[in-house]
Subunit: 203 residues, 2 copies
């Protein structure tokens, strides 16, 4: 088994944090995304979308998409559960993982990719107006999340889950995207400090 990894990019990092929380070690194949390594043959022959991360199993099976790769490891290594337990618990983690991804990480990523000069060759065409439109969307989601985190420890309930991983990666990504967390969101700040302090956050 080997994991084609993209270092600082948010999606490869989600998988590394997930593996660290599970205590699983997988051989990494580093790909230099700054040099567009993910568009080269090594990745393109395995993922026609030319994106990272990519997991290759020993029998040659290829899995892409960060959450799908995490799902595979959840199945073969269930403890600790990071996709929830029980029908309602699993659905709540899926609900929050999706909210985090579609209403937060996607907005932060759009602000970064459509506004940052370094992303010119990555996002074609860059549409600055769309980048700007995503900043208030991201902040509005932060406010919603702050209210939720006033009532519980983690994003999807009382246990750490993949929804916290997506949230942590999105929060870290607000810095290069130049989106500032409003100072009054004390519950969001408490959660962010807590998940950032876990050993897995360094992965």
């Amino acid at each position: 088994m080997k994991l084609f990894d993209g270092a600082r990019a948010p999606n490869p990092r989600r998988v590394r944090i997930f593996l660290a929380e599970k205590g699983i070690t997988v051989p990494l194949v580093p790909v230099d995304m700054a040099a567009f390594g993910h568009r080269g043959e090594e990745v393109a022959s395995r993922n026609p979308l030319r994106r990272l991360p990519v997991l290759e199993l020993d029998d040659g099976t290829v899995l892409t998409e960060s959450v799908a790769i995490c799902r595979y490891f959840e199945e073969i290594h269930p403890e600790p559960p990071l996709f929830g337990t029980g029908a309602v618990g699993k659905a709540k983690v899926e609900m929050w993982q999706r909210r985090m991804e579609l209403n937060f990480l996607a907005c932060v990523a759009a602000a970064f990719r459509h506004l940052h000069p370094a992303m010119k060759e990555w996002e074609v065409p860059q549409v600055a107006e769309w980048g700007e439109a995503n900043k208030p969307k991201a902040i509005s989601f932060m406010r919603l999340l702050d209210e939720e985190l006033a009532t519980r420890e983690f994003v999807a309930g009382d246990s750490y889950s993949i929804a916290d991983i997506t949230g942590l990666v999105a929060m870290d990504f607000t810095k290069p995207a130049r989106i500032e967390m409003p100072a009054e969101l004390i519950h969001l700040r408490r959660w962010y400090e807590q998940v950032s302090g876990r050993l897995s956050a360094k992965a």
Copy 2:
């Protein structure tokens, strides 16, 4: 249990098709989205994002996000499996469901929401340049999908899955979004006719 439903909108329909494939009947509460019923108290008190569908269980638990609601029904009613079987099978369905959603449905939806005059109050601000940028992305994904469907019956393998449901809804949505499937994509067309012909497609 009751499902707040939004008729023709793509996400509520995904859940209805999923339920039809499972043979499950759930009492529906119709919400008139054309009259912005999803922004009213009935929905907003249950989903702060003010979106449909919303599932309310008998104990008052609320689940939102179409795929999370489907996941709940998969757990309580596993047959036929629509999220895959086995670790690799489940990961492959998740991979294709995500590709369908993030690289296809999202592009078609962006083209529709940012370009259609009727969406002016729904998507604020409408960014026409972003809507246009999504049309070639959607077509490029159709080409990728066509190559994949040359080798197998359904999107994620030999069985119908939630990835086919997301794909069907996205394909239907290309019509109001005014994105035309290139005529040479015969495998995509074969698959589209096949999944459109299932009884569940009428749900």
